[in-house]
């Protein structure tokens, strides 16, 4: 492309090998002959500069003489010469790319030092490029960032000149800290952090004395402006339109806090002091904390305020992210103990620049009580918190005033200490406007808009590792023991309920319980997430030594009262909602396996800053909005129920015994080996789209199980599939009476499996004949019904609706199921009792024979064997049957009162009649079909022995 051949004279031909010393010599020649950039040599220069980068890196990796030549000829000076002409972005970008490549790729440290040694690099840094060009800006800032990554205690001296007090790399970079391009801003931040990281005292002193105050002032001002913009977004009328911007601003605020925290985490004491000072006195106290107090906002100070909700939100973020003790301790202390005087004093001293003297992390208790309040150094702005004013843009360059005078500091710190001491004599919340306003925000009678963030803030305080545990202890527990004299401890102690053993903050608990009380109302405006936070905080307040609660009786009673109200509400839904069980289980699953909403994640959600929404159309997660419609109301009531149940159990130090409804530990799992001796098994072929498998169907009380015979042990089966009966759907096949279409939906019961769209199984089951098919269908349908009923019973019990139920379902379960023992368990013996299908299946086969020849056994056998192709499976069937029905048969003295057994018999009858009606249209069974319940009544007590004998017989015959 470029005409780069011999006509440059000097006999220097372009060497064939682009990676060689000769080539660099050639390029040197080109550069020296084209020192003036013009239209014609522009392309040539660009290619030359590019090639230089390539050769130098090649030389660095392969041939050291290349670099020697470069240094010897001082080729970097050509770069500067070119740059200083108005060379256009084309050449500039190439220059910057070459420099980027050089500093990014050079591994040889000596080479790097040589490159940096003649100050050319600093000249390049201060060169005024055309920063309006996006590309130039990006390459330039990348170049600075690359350099910053090379900084260490040796290389720093090439950039920071102690004698001239010059540090262009840093001072030039921070000029772009508020660039409109996010990537540029990030690069600046990276650079600053890389600079601070270098352990060089004089450099850090320079940073602190000459740049920290203006840089941090600007930074803080910038954050303050973002916050004000955020406030406008929230107050605006078109809130949902502003949502993207809102989300952006929230994320931006988090970015700022993380950046400030990253600086603080570097633990450069001097720098941290200035930063803490700026943050506290130019942002956190004047804007965030004052905005907490609605009263002071009304007083109409000139300084801008944000809504108290936003203030709670922002402060929560601060406490979640920042842990620098001098910062968070002072802030927490002001919020919990301070009053407006803090700001009045602030205004008095505002003209005197002082710096902070934050207490050390090892301060004693007394120190803590009198936590010194650092004050701002305010040499640029007349008022510290006037964010709307543009900060002094020149401050960065004119930053030579000393912003920290230890003498002045001492004086002002004293006055601040006095102030906080005065505050120590306060005796009630009324003199603690911020704490009281946090507490007031917990009010939820209208809605929980502010309560949610108030809870977040308290939660964030709890989680913050930088705050004195003691301060928190006094907030939540009122201190370990009563102290004399200091006043502070006393007044807090007054607010505490004295329990026999320990105390807790009664005022706080009152408010938390009031949230709960509002939550359980039918038309409640409290969101589930709020309740969850209140729950966590309540436990934090009243739980001692892990699992013991010290909650007073009246508080406990209030919680139980709220629970009852919630249960009453749920009882209505229980009665009216047909899907109650499914929703109940689904919600339980959601609550127990769903992601636990931690406060950090909560505070990233900008949606919450808007007034609580009630519609799913907003796209806000269910627990973060109000319910919409009755179904959601019942869902919500369930969630509330689960939370309150957990709370109540925890406070009473009890374990959950009844939830989840299905104890998955006692369920059969795939690949289990089951002893199916004496069990009711049906052979079938399971046909799905791709497969056709022979399986044996076993119906347990809650599960549908498909097994294949165990290769190792006779009579055992290996589980190949399990599904809950509750989740099945059964349909007959129009064309084939031996077939059933069975769909097993994925279940909310199955805690391990996540919810999936596809069913667990959707297959055609082909049985040996249509009778078995019908029998299976009946049993599945009955099983499903029973399984649901059983669970509904359990729920009824949980909801105190068990008054009329004679046998609690729990008992039934315990009867019928044992803890799963993998090896030798007489698995299905007891189950037969609970399984109507078992009796039905056999009866349907044997009854025709029984009826005809009640004494003659052989026809019955014949009829059975005719219908049975898989005798092996029939054996246990009969066995179970005999066992399960025997007691019933012998004690068959008229109608039985017990609901469980009578229902079993009923089902027995109905299935019998229907199947026998098909298989053998016998007179008596026909009549039974018309009157299912009448069948049993037709067996007088005298016949019962007959009946039982008949039922046992087939089995015996099969054995023979």
């Amino acid at each position: 492309m470029f005409r780069s051949k011999s006509w440059f004279g000097g006999g220097l031909w372009k060497p064939k090998n682009p990676h060689s010393l000769d080539h660099l010599k050639y390029l040197y020649n080109v550069l020296s002959k084209n020192q003036t950039v013009n239209e014609h040599n522009r392309g040539l220069l660009v290619e030359t500069l590019r090639s230089i980068a390539e050769i130098l890196i090649w030389g660095d990796q392969n041939d050291s003489t290349v670099f020697d030549f470069f240094l010897e000829k001082n080729m970097l000076s050509f770069f500067l010469k070119i740059m200083k002409q108005k060379c256009g972005s084309y050449v500039c970008v190439q220059l910057l790319q070459t420099l980027n490549i050089l500093f990014e790729n050079i591994r040889n440290e000596t080479s790097l030092y040589y490159l940096l040694s003649n100050n050319h690099v600093n000249s390049i840094i201060v060169h005024k490029f055309d920063f309006s060009d996006e590309e130039v800006m990006a390459y330039y800032i990348s170049f600075l960032k690359t350099l910053s990554l090379k900084l260490n205690s040796h290389t720093i001296h090439f950039f920071y000149n102690e004698h001239t007090n010059d540090f262009p790399l840093y001072t030039e970079a921070i000029k772009f800290f508020n660039n409109s391009e996010s990537m540029v801003r990030i690069a600046v931040r990276t650079l600053t952090l890389n600079v601070y990281k270098v352990d060089d005292k004089s450099m850090l002193k320079f940073i602190r004395d000459k740049t920290a105050a203006p840089y941090f002032t600007n930074l803080v001002w910038f954050i303050g402006n973002h916050v004000l913009e955020l406030d406008v977004c929230i107050r605006g009328n078109s809130q949902y339109e502003a949502l993207p911007r809102l989300a952006d601003l929230v994320a931006e605020h988090l970015d700022h806090l993380h950046y400030l925290n990253d600086i603080l985490l570097l633990e450069i004491d001097d720098l941290n002091k200035v930063l803490t000072d700026h943050l506290l006195h130019r942002l956190l106290i004047p804007l965030y904390v004052t905005s907490l107090d609605k009263a002071s906002a009304i007083q109409g100070k000139s300084s801008p305020k944000v809504s108290s909700i936003l203030a709670l939100f922002l402060l929560s973020q601060v406490f979640l992210i920042m842990t620098h003790p001098p910062l968070v301790r002072v802030l927490a202390n002001i919020i919990l103990n301070g009053n407006e005087a803090v700001f009045e004093l602030k205004d008095d001293i505002v003209s005197n620049p002082i710096i902070n003297s934050t207490s050390t992390p090892t301060s004693t208790d007394e120190d803590r009580a009198n936590e010194e309040i650092p004050s701002a150094s305010t040499e640029e702005n007349p008022t510290a918190h006037n964010f709307l004013q543009t900060p002094d843009r020149n401050s960065k360059s004119s930053s030579h005033e000393d912003c920290s005078s230890p003498d002045m500091l001492a004086r002002k710190a004293d006055s601040l200490r006095l102030l906080i001491k005065d505050e120590g004599n306060l005796t009630d919340l009324s003199r603690r406007p911020f704490l009281s306003s946090i507490f007031d925000s917990l009010e939820t009678s209208e809605n929980d808009y502010s309560a949610l963030f108030s809870l977040c803030l308290l939660q964030a305080l709890v989680k913050n590792k930088g705050i004195h545990a003691d301060l928190l202890d006094r907030l939540f527990h009122g201190g370990a023991e009563k102290e004399r004299g200091t006043g502070k401890e006393e007044d807090l102690a007054e607010e505490c309920i004295t329990h026999t053993k320990s105390r807790y903050n009664g005022q706080l608990v009152d408010r938390l319980i009031s949230i709960i009380a509002h939550t359980v109302k039918y038309e409640s405006k409290v969101r589930v997430v709020t309740l969850q936070l209140a729950y966590t905080l309540l436990l934090k307040t009243v739980m001692k030594e892990g699992d013991k609660s010290c909650m007073g009786d009246h508080h406990l009673a209030a919680i139980e009262g709220a629970r009852e109200e919630n249960i009453l509400l749920l009882q209505n839904y229980y009665k009216s909602d047909e899907m109650f069980l499914e929703i109940f289980e689904d919600e339980y699953l959601e609550m127990s396996t769903g992601k636990v909403q931690n406060v950090e994640q909560l505070l990233m959600d900008s949606h919450l800053l808007l007034p609580p929404a009630g519609s799913p159309l907003t796209g806000i997660a269910f627990d973060k909005r109000l319910p919409c419609g009755e179904v959601e109301r019942s869902r919500r009531a369930m969630r509330v129920y689960f939370i309150l149940r957990k709370l109540s159990l925890t406070l009473r130090n009890e374990k959950e015994k009844y939830l989840p409804l299905t104890n998955t530990q006692t369920c059969v799992n795939i690949d289990d080996n089951l002893d199916l001796t004496n069990s009711d098994i049906q052979s079938c072929i399971v046909i799905t789209r791709d497969t056709k498998l022979r399986r044996f169907l076993v119906i347990d009380i809650v599960q549908l199980i498909l097994v294949e015979p165990s290769p190792k042990r006779m009579g055992w089966g290996v589980v190949k599939f399990v599904g809950f009966l509750q989740d099945i759907e059964v349909m007959g096949d129009k064309d084939d009476s031996r077939c059933l279409h069975i769909t097993v939906k994925s279940s909310p019961t199955n805690l391990r499996g996540s919810k999936t769209k596809t069913p667990l199984l959707s297959a055609k089951f082909m049985f040996d004949d249509h009778i078995r098919c019908m029998a299976a269908k009946q049993r599945l349908i009955k099983g499903k019904l029973k399984s649901r009923q059983r669970k509904l019973h359990m729920i009824a019990r949980l909801l105190d609706l068990t008054g009329s139920s004679p046998s609690p379902p729990q008992k039934l379960r315990h009867h019928s199921r044992r803890p799963l023992v993998r090896s030798d368990r007489p698995l299905y013996n007891p189950i037969g009792k609970a399984l109507p299908g078992l009796a039905m299946a056999v009866v349907s086969e044997t009854q025709p024979g029984n009826r005809k020849n009640s004494r003659d056994q052989s026809p019955a056998v014949a009829s059975v064997s005719k219908n049975t192709t898989h005798q092996d499976e029939e054996i246990p069937l009969g066995t179970i049957h005999s066992k399960s029905t025997n007691p019933g048969g012998t004690s068959h003295n008229g109608p039985q009162p017990a609901s469980s057994s009578s229902s079993r018999r009923n089902s027995c009858n109905s299935s019998t009649s229907s199947s026998s009606a098909i298989s053998n249209p016998h007179q008596s069974s026909n009549s039974a079909a018309q009157n299912p319940s009448g069948l049993h009544l037709k067996f007088p007590s005298g016949n019962s022995s007959n009946l039982s004998a008949n039922k046992i017989n087939p089995r015996r015959f099969k054995f023979q």
């Binding site: 990676h19 290619e47 590019r50 980068a53 390539e54 890196i57 090649w58 990796q61 392969n62 790319q97 980027n100 490549i101 990014e104 790729n105 590309e135 990006a138 390459y139 990348s142 960032k145 690359t146 990554l149 996010s182 990537m183 801003r185 990030i186 931040r189 990276t190 952090l193 993207p244 911007r245 952006d248 994320a251 931006e252 988090l254 970015d255 993380h258 950046y259 925290n261 990253d262 796209g619």
Partner: protein, 212 residues
């Protein structure tokens, strides 16, 4: 040079997997890959054409900044696309993908397109991670996958351009809010503010993005 859109990318992955080499290889074809030269950059830009439109890609390497939480966070948030790179000759770089991905998902815009790249495919003899493993990982996590070599330039072009295509499609579907620069997408100067939507997007897609 004017462009219809500017997409900002970041490159992430363990150190030494060849991120900066990939970056240079893609953004600057003038640097021919040579066996005895390893060379990379931390920033690069290049113009490509998709659907007849000029699209500028700006690629930022995030290497060396992992120590600072605020920096990674911001980088992710400001990018429309991310290239997640591992080294097929180093199993550990593959094992760390989950962590990288979690980080990316946590901090980034949910629409960010992530492409998984197994780099150094030229070193097949020293391969420790099978191509199939990369494919499986990508499928499981919904990523686009490709094996590349910065040394031979194999697939480098495709990796960057396919990612851009995916972003472009998302813009057409109205998934990306292109008016919000925080997403890592910028509308070029040639698109006047009166007509921020690309013609292909039409009124339908503008409505779509409006209600989200």
């Amino acid at each position: 040079m004017s462009y219809a859109y500017l997409f900002k990318y970041i490159i992430i992955g363990d150190t030494g997997v060849g991120k900066s080499c990939l970056l240079l290889q893609f953004t600057d074809k003038r640097f021919q890959p040579v066996h005895d030269l390893t060379i990379g950059v931390e920033f690069g830009a290049r113009m490509i054409t998709i659907d007849g439109k000029q699209i500028k890609l700006q690629i930022w390497d995030t290497a060396g900044q992992e120590a600072f939480r605020s920096i990674t966070r911001s980088y992710y948030r400001g990018a429309a696309g991310a290239l997640l790179v591992y080294d097929i000759t180093r199993r550990d770089t593959f094992n760390h993908l989950t962590t990288w991905l979690e980080d990316a998902r946590q901090h980034s815009n949910s629409n960010m397109v992530i492409m998984l790249i197994g780099n150094k495919s030229d070193l097949d003899a020293r391969r420790e991670v099978k191509k199939e493993e990369g494919e499986v990982f990508a499928r499981e996590h919904g990523l686009i996958f490709m094996e590349t070599s910065a040394k031979t330039a194999a697939n480098v072009e495709e990796a960057f351009i396919n990612t851009a295509k995916e972003i472009y499609e998302k813009i057409q579907e109205g998934v990306f809010d292109i008016n919000n620069e925080a997403n890592g997408i910028k509308i070029g100067p040639q698109h006047s503010p009166t007509n921020p939507q690309s013609p292909a997007g039409g009124p339908g897609s503008s409505q779509g993005s409006g209600c989200c």
